[in-house]
């Protein structure tokens, strides 16, 4: 930190400090790097997929402080001290999360390219709204494109995950 608060230095590189999937990270990055570049190229977290680099397709979706974002159009330098969650942060100890398991059971993955992004979008939805309607699921996934166009199985997978994850699901199933 500069001693004089009026003095603001232009930096050629940025020291980025944040948490990724619960782990502290500290890396020197290029100022113009996208969050996607940093996650994939430097951290080798390749579960986050690169699709369009324009923010249209949503394959690169990650969470920043619990809110989904398209990492390809997020400046890496701007996530200073934030909590990042990528696909690799969803399951635990090599086990699929309940959401991932529902996608597996309902054939929601298909070719798998858009799946990482869709899983993160569905994750934010279900944290906020454990009992979403089909319309609400559609709205929450509007920023993700699936070129297999298998949206029906994706919608079904999110519904199944929601019903399994609700605290009352055991009673409901009977």
């Amino acid at each position: 930190m500069a001693a004089n608060s009026d003095e603001l230095l232009l930096e050629d590189t940025v020291l980025l400090q944040c948490r990724v999937n619960g782990q502290n990270r500290e890396e020197v990055i290029r100022p113009s790097a996208s969050l996607l570049d940093w996650l994939r190229d430097d951290l080798r977290l390749t579960g986050t997929h690169m699709g369009c680099m324009t923010g249209h397709c949503g394959a690169c979706t990650v969470m920043i402080d619990g809110k989904i974002a398209k990492s390809c159009i997020t400046l890496a330098a701007s996530v200073q001290r934030k909590q990042i969650t990528t696909l690799e942060g969803l399951g635990q100890n090599g086990k699929l999360s309940p959401l991932q398991q529902a996608f597996w059971d309902e054939a929601g993955f298909q070719c798998g390219f858009c799946a990482p992004g869709i899983l993160l979008s569905a994750e934010e939805l279900l944290r906020e709204n454990p009992n979403p309607s089909v319309e609400e699921i559609r709205e929450a996934l509007a920023g993700n494109l699936c070129r297999c166009t298998g949206y029906q199985s994706i919608l079904r997978a999110v519904q199944v995950a929601a019903s399994r994850m609700r605290p009352s699901s055991i009673a409901e199933d009977k």
């Binding site: 232009l10 996208s34 400046l75 701007s78 920023g143």
Partner: protein, 291 residues
């Protein structure tokens, strides 16, 4: 222009504009990045310095000051959709923010200020801000001024310039007896709008007492529907009048756009359709308030 931009993270808005004053035109202010990052990724924009304002506390927060909402320029679209003050006092803005393309990801990062400075003819936020008579606070080195948004975007003498920041947006709460509507026409779910319209209407005894309308996404600049709306005053909004009104709104579009969202002839026609739809919904909402 540079392949390797430098980076600065000012700690206050004042420090940001002081920095901008000393930098050349290659300096670019970045907040949510939703507009700029695609251009940076593809090399269409090569800033010499990225001035990251995304964490400036003086550009955040929403306050109600005597019926006027002061909204920080960094407020994201998702917050405009969910914030209870915005939902109750400015339902039109809240609704328009929820219909922005790109999904929650973009709503979580895209800012109100960024939507204004992007000045993209197809975006959703400027038409409702104009209908609601938004004012913006602009900070440049040593000066804070407040100006109507309409003047800022139409007059170069009042324009933002390269060394200023929009810090806050001020909006008077919509009176509860006003109906409102934001209508948007899209060819597919993910596409940009082909036409949009923001409206507020007040009714009295089944007749239109007051109305405001702005039509967007059909020409380079948003279109003030004032001339067409005037003919509605003191009359009920019945089918016959609505039809006349639709034609009058289409006629306001003298330079329709011709792009992937539709050709110019169709865009002009859709301007009328979407304007009629917006006024119709606003009239229904206003009429429901009367009962």
């Amino acid at each position: 222009m540079s392949l390797h931009p430098q980076y600065a993270r000012p700690r206050s808005a004042a420090q940001a504009v002081e920095l901008l004053r000393g930098l050349g035109s290659g300096a670019v202010v970045i907040a949510g990045g939703q507009e700029l990052m695609p251009h940076i990724n593809y090399g269409r924009l090569m800033p010499s310095v990225l001035v990251d304002i995304s964490a400036l506390p003086d550009l955040m927060g929403i306050q109600d000051v005597d019926g006027v909402l002061s909204i920080g320029a960094l407020t994201v679209l998702r917050e405009l959709k969910k914030n209870s003050l915005v939902k109750t006092s400015l339902p039109l803005l809240s609704r328009a923010a929820s219909l922005v393309g790109g999904g929650w990801q973009v709503h979580n990062r895209g800012t109100l200020g960024g939507n204004i400075v992007a000045m993209h003819p197809l975006y959703d936020i400027i038409p409702p801000l104009l209908v609601l008579d938004a004012e913006v606070e602009i900070l440049s080195a040593g000066e804070v001024r407040r100006a109507p948004l309409a003047a800022v975007i139409s007059e170069t003498s009042l324009g933002l310039g390269q060394r200023a920041l929009i810090t806050r947006i001020f909006l008077r709460a919509t009176p509860p007896d006003f109906g409102w509507a934001y209508e948007k026409l899209k060819i597919t779910e993910g596409a940009y709008g082909s036409a949009n319209a923001a409206a507020v209407v007040a009714m009295h005894g089944g007749k239109v007492r007051a109305a405001r309308l702005v039509i967007g996404a059909v020409s380079e600049q948003p279109i003030d529907g004032g001339a067409a709306v005037e003919s509605l005053l003191g009359r009920p909004f019945d089918d016959h009048i609505a039809q006349e009104f639709e034609a009058a709104c289409a006629a306001l579009v003298t330079q329709p756009m011709n792009d992937q969202q539709g050709n110019s002839r169709w865009r002009r026609a859709m301007a009328g359709v979407i304007a009629r739809r917006a006024i119709s919904v606003a009239v229904s909402r206003a009429s429901a308030q009367q009962i």
